[in-house]
Symmetry: C2
Subunit: 327 residues, 2 copies
DNA sequence: ATTTATTGTGTTACGTGTAACATGGATGAG
DNA sequence: CTCATCCATGTTACACGTAACACAATAAAT
């Protein structure tokens, strides 16, 4: 008990006793058992972060932001990789509940995440959604303005003279994909361009699917074939570029290409891709901030929703600077 | 007790009782408290991974590999970011000891990590070194053959006709940097090329330092100035390329550039950099495998050291295919 | 029918830290 | 000198799961 008081600076301990305790602690290399404390106090000072793909630089930056903030506030971060699978999420959350983590940050894999998050909520564990919303779930969230982002990209291409713009979009189930597609369609409508549904290749899960979908668009008859492509994210765009390379089409001369989300290192190496960049790190830090505030009871009962503004970064792949294309 | 027996399939439980227990478990949404189990059993089925930079794709791939294997074996991964700081490592390990993690995977920040790891070892927690060795520490380790890698890069440049090769190397304290430099020097010696110490800009901690060091090499008098540069890793190379760009030097025409470690997405986007690639994912999975085996008591007392072979990936930045340079 | 073995369930104690209360001694007020 | 107050430390009980042992009831063996 006295040792506990010394370590926590709680209650009163005679200065001389304190010194003696500290001495013995050093001699024995004693480290208090956080499991026991957690068991007693019902909180573990541990939060979890489940991302849908840890090897994607986009999520990596989020991990870093979260880790940074958590560390500074004395929290430990457990990282999980859901691989875009709700089932894996479920397993993770089960294990995390068992380990009595204090809260969760998640880039949900889909609308199926709803049940999982509701179960978590019923247990009293707060959670914050990052990057993606889940239908029917009201919680703190930090997302990007995907409608606005898509409009920026689309408008930019239109201004460069493109009329037939292809859209290779990500998983239909994700709020980001839906919003991006909506923004795309809105931008076209606003400029009076008719939407050709053939030009939307949606629901690409991975890079190789983006490759395939892009190829399909390239096989359209010349009068329908797009002159520019928008890729739904930073990974899909790689598949798109690979498809163009395999078809012998130069970017941006034969085909303009733009996408969502910057690849920091790749862009530094070669500022090539025109993108809509998001303040990704803030996704992580703000979400972590929200969660920590909730854990400290500093947050309103009302969920907070932050929507961060994207920014158009014009580089070479859109063909800007080459003058508008005439086709 | 009976509930415990049902959940763990241990001891005997009447089938009818088992059903009844399972029913109630479902009704109450009961999830056993892993803290209590951990407290009692003295193991938590949690391992930690401390990397020196989570936002670096190189380490990210390791994180993914580790997470994957751990997850499949019922372990949870706590991820820490040391930011190349031994002090941060120390804080982390202290917190992890307190949380009674079962073992640690670490890309150590330097030789100062020795004391930390020794302290961990005294507590009986096994650990595995990834990517880097620490002087005086004998433990399981998974590293790359950095001497061989450096030789591959250097020989390749020599074969392309380069005689004055600059080397922008990473932190002197890291075994990887030292080995790479050694391989570089060996390759030069083997081909009878005299080593000019001015051409080695070592101990660059970050990208901006690589930028600065590269600039210094460019300011050498023409007869000393290198015609090719080797960057110590995938981040430093960005700084080097930026320096060349700011100096108006085209790669590879005016300066060949090669480096260690591939950037998967960047290379897919544009296969530009000639690199020595390492089987990075295996770094993570093999290390995790070693740790799990040790935790299961399946491992020898003898530490195991695996050295993975790097591979030269020739692309455009070295100028291969343009024919040897004549200078 | 009696002994032995088997089966299913319950009890106790432990791992470790800490809130709440208890205790004994010293100090101070009256 | 006595009673109240304060201070430092100790005790007890709890958080929760589980190994080890105990026990009653049944089944099998003699």
């Amino acid at each position: 008990m006295t040792v506990s008081r010394v370590l926590n600076n709680s209650g009163r301990v005679a200065p001389e006793t304190r010194l003696r305790v500290e001495q013995v602690i050093r001699e024995l290399g004693y480290v208090p058992n956080a499991l026991a404390t957690g068991l007693f106090k019902g909180r573990t000072r541990t939060i979890a972060l489940i991302v849908s793909d840890i090897s994607n630089p986009f999520f990596t930056v989020i991990v870093r932001g979260v880790e940074d903030l958590a560390q500074r506030n004395g929290y430990t971060v457990v990282v999980g990789n859901s691989d875009e699978s709700v089932e894996k999420e479920r397993q993770y959350v089960a294990s995390l509940i068992s380990k009595r983590i204090d809260g969760l940050l998640i880039t949900p894999a889909g609308n199926g995440s709803r049940r999982i998050l509701e179960a978590l909520g019923r247990r009293g564990s707060p959670f914050v959604l990052i990057d993606r919303d889940v239908e029917g779930v009201t919680a703190d969230s930090v997302t990007g303005d995907n409608v606005a982002g898509a409009k920026l990209l689309t408008q930019h291409l239109i201004e460069l003279g493109h009329r037939r713009i292809g859209f290779i979009n990500g998983r239909r189930e994700l709020s980001t994909s839906r919003d991006r597609q909506r923004g795309f369609e809105m931008a076209l409508r606003e400029r009076g361009i008719e939407l050709n549904p053939v030009l939307i290749g949606d629901n690409a899960h991975r890079r190789d699917e983006a490759y395939r979908v892009a190829h399909q668009l390239l096989e359209l008859p010349p009068e329908e074939r797009p002159t520019a492509l928008i890729a739904g994210n930073n990974v899909l765009v790689i598949g798109v570029i690979e498809a163009l390379r395999s078809a012998g089409l130069a970017v941006p001369e034969a085909m303009a290409v733009v996408c969502f989300d910057d690849l920091e290192l790749a862009s530094a190496l070669d500022p090539f891709l025109t993108v809509v960049a998001q303040p990704v790190r803030s996704f992580g830090t703000i979400a972590a901030q929200f969660l920590l505030e909730r854990l400290n009871g500093e947050a309103d009962v009302q969920p907070r929703r932050v929507v961060l503004t994207p920014e158009l970064v014009v580089r070479r792949s859109c063909g800007a600077g080459l003058g508008p294309l005439v086709i």
